[in-house]
Symmetry: C2
Subunit: 726 residues, 2 copies
Amino acid sequence: MLIGACARVGSRILRAGHCVPQFFAATYRAYHLWCNSVLRSYLNNFPSSTKMADVESILSPLRADVQAQGDLVRRLKSEKANDMEIRRAVAELKARKKLLEEKELELTKQDHKIDRAKLEDLLKQRFVYDQSFSIYGGVQGLYDYGPTGCAIKANLLAAWRQFFVLEEQLLEVDCSMLTPECVLKASGHLERFTDYMVRDVVTGECFRADHLIESALEAIRTSKRTSEAEKSEIDKCLSQLEGYGADELAEIITRYSIKSPVTKNDLTSPQKFNLMFSTSIGPTGQYQGFLRPETAQGIFVNFQRLLQFNQGRLPFGAAQIGSAFRNEISPRSGVIRVREFTMAEIEYFVDPKDKSHPKFAQYADLKLPLFSACDQMDGKSTQEISLKDAVARGIIANETLGYFMARIFLFLYMVGVKPDRCRFRQHMKNEMAHYARDCWDAECLTTYGWIECVGCADRSCYDLTQHQLATGVRLVAEKLLPEPVTVHEVKCVPNKAKIGRTYRGEAAQILKAFETLSPDESLKIKEELVNSGKYILSVNGSHFEVTSDMVAIKEADVRVHVEEVVPSVIEPSFGIGRIMYAILEQNFHTRENDEQRTFLSLPPIIAPYKCSVLPLSSHPDFWLCLAKQLTRVGISHRVDESGGSIGRRYARTDQIAIPYGITVDFDTVNQKPPSASLRERETMKQIRVPVSANLPDLVSDLANGIVSWRDALANYPIFEQQEASK
Amino acid sequence: MLIGACARVGSRILRAGHCVPQFFAATYRAYHLWCNSVLRSYLNNFPSSTKMADVESILSPLRADVQAQGDLVRRLKSEKANDMEIRRAVAELKARKKLLEEKELELTKQDHKIDRAKLEDLLKQRFVYDQSFSIYGGVQGLYDYGPTGCAIKANLLAAWRQFFVLEEQLLEVDCSMLTPECVLKASGHLERFTDYMVRDVVTGECFRADHLIESALEAIRTSKRTSEAEKSEIDKCLSQLEGYGADELAEIITRYSIKSPVTKNDLTSPQKFNLMFSTSIGPTGQYQGFLRPETAQGIFVNFQRLLQFNQGRLPFGAAQIGSAFRNEISPRSGVIRVREFTMAEIEYFVDPKDKSHPKFAQYADLKLPLFSACDQMDGKSTQEISLKDAVARGIIANETLGYFMARIFLFLYMVGVKPDRCRFRQHMKNEMAHYARDCWDAECLTTYGWIECVGCADRSCYDLTQHQLATGVRLVAEKLLPEPVTVHEVKCVPNKAKIGRTYRGEAAQILKAFETLSPDESLKIKEELVNSGKYILSVNGSHFEVTSDMVAIKEADVRVHVEEVVPSVIEPSFGIGRIMYAILEQNFHTRENDEQRTFLSLPPIIAPYKCSVLPLSSHPDFWLCLAKQLTRVGISHRVDESGGSIGRRYARTDQIAIPYGITVDFDTVNQKPPSASLRERETMKQIRVPVSANLPDLVSDLANGIVSWRDALANYPIFEQQEASK
C-alpha cells in the first residue's frame, strides 16, 4: 500500500508510516505489531462514529427479533423437541437473520457507494476481463482475463506464494485436473455435487429446483392473501427443502403451481444434475473422468509422498494453486459464480490430538472481525475479538485454525481488501458437513452483498479416511509417543505345512481367516485349544476343525515408541477470482468533481503495471532507453505513445491502476540538465526529477515501498501542470 | 548459471565471468555480446575435436546416401514426374534420413551417457513428479508435480514471463480452457485432431492405426524374405499412409495380416478418434464443448480486444501460459507425451507485407544451430549460421521469425538446456500445414532422441481468417499508409420513399439488393439509367423496373490514409513439461567415484530451493532465526533437521538441485565469534562464514549471480570436512 494513498482515503490505517512490501523485510515481531496497530487504529475509530449510532438504533429491534428466535431454537434443542418443530423455528430464524442482514447492508452501504455499471464499463473497456468467446456469442460463466486482469492475477498469486508457500514452508504441488471417477466417489463429490434441476417446458431454460421453489414460496409467504395456516405449511416446506428428493420437489411444484420465473411456462419434473464436468479419459471411452471441482483432492491422494518428502513428520502443510470447474446450472453475478475458476488451497495436516500451532503466539493479540454462529443466532453483529480470546473461549475451535484465519486476514488486507468490509462468518451447525469441526468464511462486502472469498475449515480426518477406505492404502502418520508404552500383542501363527496337508484346496481360505483374526478371537481360540485340544473355525459357512498342531497363539508385551494417527486437516481455501473482484470493487473510485473519471486504487504489490511512460516529445530515443532501464530493474510498465492529451492518457493509466507515471516532455529533451516528471495516481501530484537522479530506481523504490511518496514530494520540486481530462 | 559450476563442467561457456541473472541487469548491447561470446566459445571448440572427426568418417557414407536420394526427389519434382513416383522417392528419403539420424545419435550419445532409470528413480524418490492417482492404480499420461517439480516449474514460468512478457512487452491473457465446439471447428481442430484407431479384439487395447501399420510394414520391409516387388508395394503404402481413410487402412491391415503387437490378437477395423476431451457445458447438455488442445485459440478469439488495448497498432504480441489437453491413444515416454500439459504460447501479430523486427539487429550476428529442410534433404548435419545470413539467404523466412528463434535459444540456454544438445529443425514442406510459411522446432537431445520442445511458426493469416469466416466479425487491423492514396468510390444511394411507394411489400428486398451491389454493377446501372432512363433489377428470380428517380449512383475520389489488413501471426509455442524434462536429463549427473550419488545441476534461476539449512547442533534458536532471515531476503530454502549424517543430507539436497547449503554445527553455537559453513553443490567445497557477515545476504548474492562462488572462495576461509555419503 503506498503511502501517498493516505491523503486521499483519509484513513488512519496507514498513518504509522508502515507499508506492505516492507513488511516482508520486517521481523515477525514488528510485523505483528504493525498488524495490530493497523487494526487497532481502525477499530478505535470506526464503531464510535455518530453514523454508526444512528444505524444501531434502526437495527436494534431487528437484532432483538433474531435473538428471541435464536433463544427459542436453543430451548427447543435443549428440550429435545420434535424435529419438525425445531426445523420450523430454524427456518424462521433464518428469515429474521436475512431481514437483519439486508437492513444492515442497506444502511452501511451508504459509506461505500459504488456504481457497479461504471465499474463494469471500466473492466470491459480496459480488458481487465470479459466474457469468453464473445465473437461466437459467448458462453455463460466463462471469462477471459485480458492483459490488465492477467497481470493482477499473476501478481496476486505471486504474493500468495510468497505469503503462504514460502513463509509457512508449505509443500506446493501441481496435480492433474482430469480426475478419474473413483477418486471423486471416495471424496463424496459424485454424491454431494448433485442438484435437482427443472426446465421450462417451452424454452428449455434450466433452473435449480430448490432455489426456484425457495424464492417462489417466499413470494407466496409474503403475500397478504396468504393465511397463517398456509404460511405455516410453507415454513414446513422451506425448513425441509434441503432433504427433499425428486418426488417431493415435484409435488411442491404442482401443489403451489410454480412456473418458470422468466416465461411463466410450465416446468418439467425435477431431475438430478451433477455439477461436475464429465469426460472420458483414454480412447476406449470406458474410463469415466471429471474435471476436478476443487484442487484439494490432488493433495490428499499424494499424502504419502508428501509425508515422505517431509521425512515422515507432522504437522506439515501442502498447497496447490490451480483451476477447478463447476458446471453451474445458470451462472450469474459476473465472475462471482463461474464455471471455470482459479483456487489456491492449503491442506495443513496436524495431529488430531494436538492442534496447537508454534507461531500462534505471534498473533495471539490480533483482533479479528468475527461473526460467530452464536452471534448470528443472537442477532448480534461482527465482534472484534483477539485470537487468544477466541480460542480460549472456544469460539474458534483450535490454534491452528485461528493462526490461519489471522494469516488470511493479513493477506487479504495486504492485497487491497478493506478491513472494514471484511469479516469471518462462522458456519452454523446445520451448514457444516457432518465431519467438519469448525468452519469460517472470510467474506468481503461488495455490491453483491457479503461474498465468500476464503473458506477456513477444520475437516477432521474425513478426507484421508475416505481415500483409505476406497483404496486400502494406509494414509497415516507415525507419531512419536512422549514416552514408550508397553502393548500386549496377540499373534496368531498358523502352521502352513500342516494346514496345507490337512485341507489342501481349502487351506488358503483358512490361512486367510487366521490373518484377519482380532486379538480377542485369537485368545478365544487359544482358550479352546488349551481346554479341548481343538477349535471349529467357520469360514464362509464351512466349518474346519483346527488342532493345536495347526496354529500357535503367541502373546507378548512389546515396547512401542510410536503410534499411527490419521491426521486431521485444516483447510484454508481461496477463491482467487472472487478475491480479485472484491479488491477491484473495494478500490474503485471516481475523482472528486469529475464523476466520469473512474480509477482503481490497487496497492502497487498487485497493480498490473507499476509505471506508465507517456512520451509527449517526438524523441523516441529517450523514452525507449527509459523503458529498457525500467525493464532492467524489473519494473513492469506500459508505454502510451498515442496522440491523446496528457490528461486523457493519465486517466487511462489510472483506470488500469498504474500507481506511477513518467512523462517525457519537450523540456526533458531541450532543458539542461534534462528532467522528466513523475506522477502518483492517488494524489495526482507530480514531481520533477533530473534524469541523472536515476528515475527507474526511484520508481522501483516507490513501488516496493522503500521510499514513500511523501518523501519523494519532499525531496524533489513539485511540478504543476493542468490535468485536463477532456 | 552459477559460476562455481565452471570448474566441474570444464566448459568455456562461462569463463567470461558473466552469469545469467546479471544478464537481466545488463544493457541489451552487453547481453548480445554475452550471448555471442558464449556461443562462439562453444562453436570454436566443439566441432574441431578429434572425436567428431571419427564420427564424421562413419557418417559420411550415410550422408551421401541421403543426399543422393534428396537430389532424386528434387529432380523428380522439377521434372513434374508423376505423383506416385515422387511419393515413393520421398518415402525412401525419409527412411535414409532416419538411418542417418539414428547413427548420429548413437555416436554422439557417448558424450552424455545418461542412465535414465537412475534419473527416474531420483524423480520418483524426491517427488519431482510422479504418476497421478497412483493410490487408485494411476492414470496413464497424467502426472502430478511434487514440491520440487512444482517449484522448478513455477521458477521456469516466472523466468519465461520475465524474458518474454516483460522484455517483449507482450499482452498476457488468461483464457478459458473449456471451449465451445464452434471455435474448434473454425480452427480446424474438430477435423484435424481425428486419428484412426484400432483395438485388440480380445483385450480391447487401443493403437493408433497409422503408427501401428507403419511399424508393421517397416518390419516386413526389412525382412530378408521380402522381395523387391513387395518392398516397392510397401513403399507405396507408406508414402500414402497419411492420406488413407478407414477403408484403405482396413484393407492394408487385412492384406498384410497385421495383428496386435502386444498379444498378436486380431484387430478391429479402424475407427475415427478425436484427440480432444469432450464435455457438455451447461445443464441442458446441448452445448458441446472441449478442453482446449492448445492455448492459442484464446488469443485469436480476443484479437479485437487486444488490438484495441494496443490502441489499434501493429505489430504487437500476446501471450498465454496455461494448460492444454490431448486424449492420447496410448501415452508413453513419461512426461514427453501426456494428456494434460502446460504450454506457454506467443502470438505475434505483424503486417503481412512487413515482417521485419525492430530488434532484429541486436541478434543479427548470433549464430544458431540450424537444421534446415534443405540440409535434411542433403544428409547434412546441423549448421551454425548467423541470423543475418539465415534470413538473407532465405533459410529463415523473415526477421520476426528469426528474432524469436534467437530469443527461444537464449531462453533455453538460460534455464539450463545445453547448447550442444539443442537445435532448430525446420519442417519439411510436406510436414507443414498448407497455410504455414515456415516452421522451426527447437529440439533438445535426450535419451528419447531429439524431442520437440518449442515450435516457432509463421502461420500467415490462417487463424484470424478462419475465425472471421466462422463469425462474420472483421478481425483486421488498420495500417497507416506511407502516404495517403486516392481511391475512386462508387456509392449506390436508393430513394427509399419512392421505392417503398412503388413496390410496397417487395421494397425491402430491392433495397437490400442495392446495398450489396459491387462498384462495377453500380456503374452498369448508372450507364443504363443514363442511356435508357431505366434498369431491370433481378432479385431472387423476380424482375423490377428501376427508374432514375429511384436510385442515384454517386462517384467520388476519396483520400484514404489507412488500409485494412488481416495480420500474419508468428507463433512461438513452448511445451513446458518437455523443456523441464530436457533440463532435468541434461543436468543429471553422478559424482565421480560414486555412481550411486546422483545430483541435478540446475541453474539457480530455476532450482526449486536456493538454499538448504542443515542443523547439526541441538540449538534450534539459531537455525530458526536463520530460516526467517532467508525468508526475509526472499531466498526459498528447505530445512533438513532429520537425524541423517551430514553427507547423506548433502546428497539429498544435491538430488533436488539445491545450489547452496548452510550447516549449523556445534562450533556455530560454541565458538566466538560464531560462524556457519556454506557449501556449493557443484564443487562440493565449503567456506566458513562468520554469522556477523550476514550469511543470508551472501546466499542471496550468490543465487542471484551478484557474487561468484569463486569470489566467495577467495574471501572466506575454506572449511574442510569429510562428506561421507554412507
